[in-house]
Amino acid sequence: MKERTDAELVTRARSGHAESFGELVRRYQQPAFSIALSVIGRQQDAEDAVQESFMVALRRLEDCRNPDRFAGWFLTIVRNRSRNLIRRESLRRGDPIPASAANTGPSPEKAASLAELRESLQEALKKLSEVQREIVLLHDLEGWKHSEIAERLGMPSGTVRSHLHFARKALRVELSGWRDHVITS
């Protein structure tokens, strides 16, 4: 069956079609997480920002004047919500941990090791500019192509390549000491 376009999904979601909105969530929850993580730098807050952003987007779907460009419109919401969340950092304290954050996988030892690695990665990413973090995560983590990033973030493809080049260069230095087996075991 032919996959529906973003515009079709947005139109149907405006009428309350749950499956269409669910498909938009499936498509953009991970890119949104990458954006939020780029801005906030903490996984838990990034998740909150993504959830909030989807709620805001659903309430304001009529404001998305060009549904073909839903991705760019939505990721802007994610970026803005993430920045707001940083300003209201105190809200994070005392929030219950959502079920999605429940740790059902690795042993406590490996979890600790992964937590340490994550912290180090986030420290390394902090050395980059916000837009560099967004681009490197969308490219390396989500597998988006240069052209997709350019279209969805609303910037020239050459700029995306340039940001990616400098981000990789900086990360090469920051992550050079990390051993591969830490993450592959």
């Binding site: 309350g16 909105f21 999605s100 740790n103 996988g105 979890a111 390396d140």
Partner: protein, 128 residues
Amino acid sequence: MEDEKRIRLLRVLDPAHDCPGYWERFRTEIMDRAAFELARRRDRARESVELVLSGWSRSLIPVALAAAVIAAIMVGSEAVRDSGPGTPLVLEDVLASDFSDEVLETAITGEAHSSSVAFMAFVEGNRP
């Protein structure tokens, strides 16, 4: 550092890296939170359709009635027109027929000359 290695390292930042099914659960949470707004939107969409339909019916019924009245009038006047002479008369036929001179003079110069309908009625009424 190789690109592949960097990508593998960055993947650690994905919450699903050590938590299979994470994103599906995450999506379910969002959908749960979105249920109320989606239901509200469905209700609003249904109300909109009903409003449009009732709006149409309000404006369509008088228009349909007016159209029916106009159609009835037109059909009636057609019937009146069609009830005229079976054989159409042309002036040449009239001149070549056996009408008396008086009748012809009156037909051409008198009141019967005021309209084609009056003329034809007069001629028919005085046919020998």
